[in-house]
């Protein structure tokens, strides 16, 4: 990166092209994706009162994967521009899949008032959707399987500037919705009953948080594939650094920590001679942190 900047200042046009079309989009994507997923994770952890909740666990990312699988395998390769870049139709299908899973979660949140039951429902939803994806994979040809695999591996390298703009817009919308709901997110941590008795509209708070999470997750998953762990870990790091759980602080702080973690994970995955799948790097970095959280707070 430093080398690229140095070359750029010397006026190398080829390097400028590399900067503009490869390095900068990739960095921007990594930062936006990390920020968006962490913001979604922070809200989901609060409304579900579960320290391990994030879009990945709640099945929203799985819904996106199903959308992508349907587009890739049933729709053939029509949706792909070029050989390896996932095209707009795959991305759009992933976005719709994420939305569909989120709508199921929204409906379930009305039925299951208990936060833990809803979380289990989310995990089960993920299992079912993943099983359908596996069935689709089983009955697909080798070529589309390969293409689909490269998408599910999670990557920041395929984004174009228009896609980045869409992600930035989603991040802005998601942040505005959540930040306006910050005092509701605070009080819901103390239980639905307590919040209701204090005069807070619990259903509204939960719906707003899930809607915001959907916008954030849908956009990211559509263009980068399903990415886990950053959404769980970043809010915890934000809480530890800021020494508070107040959402007026934690929402922007999660956004920033997510941004940094994601960028760091992406840089790490580029250190290897052949670039590693970003989702795997995030898992390797993220899971030890999650295990640490589990060991440190056994009561949760």
């Amino acid at each position: 990166m430093a080398l690229a900047v140095a070359d750029l200042s010397c006026g190398g046009t080829a390097d400028f092209q590399v900067m503009l079309h490869l390095r900068m989009p990739r960095m921007a994507t990594a930062m936006l994706a990390g920020a968006a997923l962490s913001l979604a994770g922070a809200q989901m952890q609060s409304v579900l009162r579960n320290p391990l909740a994030d879009p990945h666990i709640m099945g929203v990312s799985s819904g996106a994967a199903l959308g992508a699988a349907i587009a890739t395998m049933l729709g053939g390769r029509a949706g792909f521009s070029g050989n390896t870049l996932p095209g707009i139709s795959t991305a759009g299908a992933a976005f719709l899949g994420a939305l569909a899973a989120a709508i199921v979660i929204l409906a379930a949140s009305k039925k299951f008032k208990n936060a833990t039951t809803l979380l289990i429902f989310g995990v089960m939803l993920g299992f079912i959707v993943n099983a359908i994806v596996s069935i689709l994979q089983f009955s697909s040809d080798a070529e589309s399987l390969k293409l689909f695999y490269s998408w599910t591996a999670g990557s920041f390298s395929n984004s174009t500037w228009p896609q980045i703009l869409i992600m930035a817009a989603a991040l802005a919308i998601g942040f505005i919705i959540s930040y306006n709901s910050r005092k509701g997110l605070d009080i819901i941590l103390f239980g639905d009953e307590f919040a209701q008795m204090a005069g807070a509209g619990v259903t509204g708070i939960r719906l707003r948080a899930l809607l915001s999470s959907c916008v954030l997750t849908g956009a990211v998953t559509a263009f980068c594939g399903p990415l886990g762990f950053v959404g769980i870990v970043a809010p915890h790091i934000a809480r530890a650094i800021c020494r508070t759980s107040a959402h007026s602080t934690i929402l922007p702080a999660s956004l920033l920590t997510g941004c940094i973690i994601s960028l760091a994970a992406d840089l790490l995955s580029q250190l290897a001679s052949a670039p590693l799948p970003t989702a795997s790097t995030m898992a390797v970095v993220g899971i030890p942190v999650i295990l640490y959280i589990l060991i440190k707070k056994p009561a949760l």
Binding site: K183, I187, F190, M197, R239, A246, S248
Partner: protein
Amino acid sequence: MKDTLINVRDLALGHGGKPLCSGVSFEICKGDCIMLCGANGSGKTTLLKAILTMAGEETVMIPTRIPKVAGFTLREFVRISCFTRSDLGGRLSDADEMSLDAALRRLSIDHLEDRDISTLSDGEFQKAGIASAVVRKASVILLDEPTAFLDAENRISVLRTLRELCGTTAIVFSTHDLHDGLSVATKVFAIGSDGIFRCAEEDMDKCVETIFHKV
């Protein structure tokens, strides 16, 4: 002579379609410190929630077993509890901040205001909940098992606090600690094992007995 705040006549209670208790009639007056007792599942919480639903905004209920979420100071917790009085960012007006100060002093928890609530004892946390009801200018405070899971020292301390608050407000608390409860109560509501609601100002012990035996 007495200021009646809530007057209930012939209320029938049920939970999940199952009738629990009927013919419930009582008055809640200013200065009352009412102990509500009854076996588990007899309808204590249901009755408190019914009172909350029927009464106006000046009645505040503190549910039982509020989680002590780490990452909030006691002052922040009380502020969050005043949900309907704060602005979009959760900030209170200067006047409310001053009544918050006063409430913390009144409950003798002002020295704990910057402590993280996860480090408070259950009794201190319970008082924080009561403080929020005071800031919200409650004329009736309903507490669901405020002494559950408290050790003897905290139990006495919370009950004494309730008694002290009764001058300006009315308090209804449900409890299983009948002996300690009776020592501060001015009135008893008992849901008997026969499913009959009884209310007593004198002979409170006898009224309490009805939750154990068929009379």
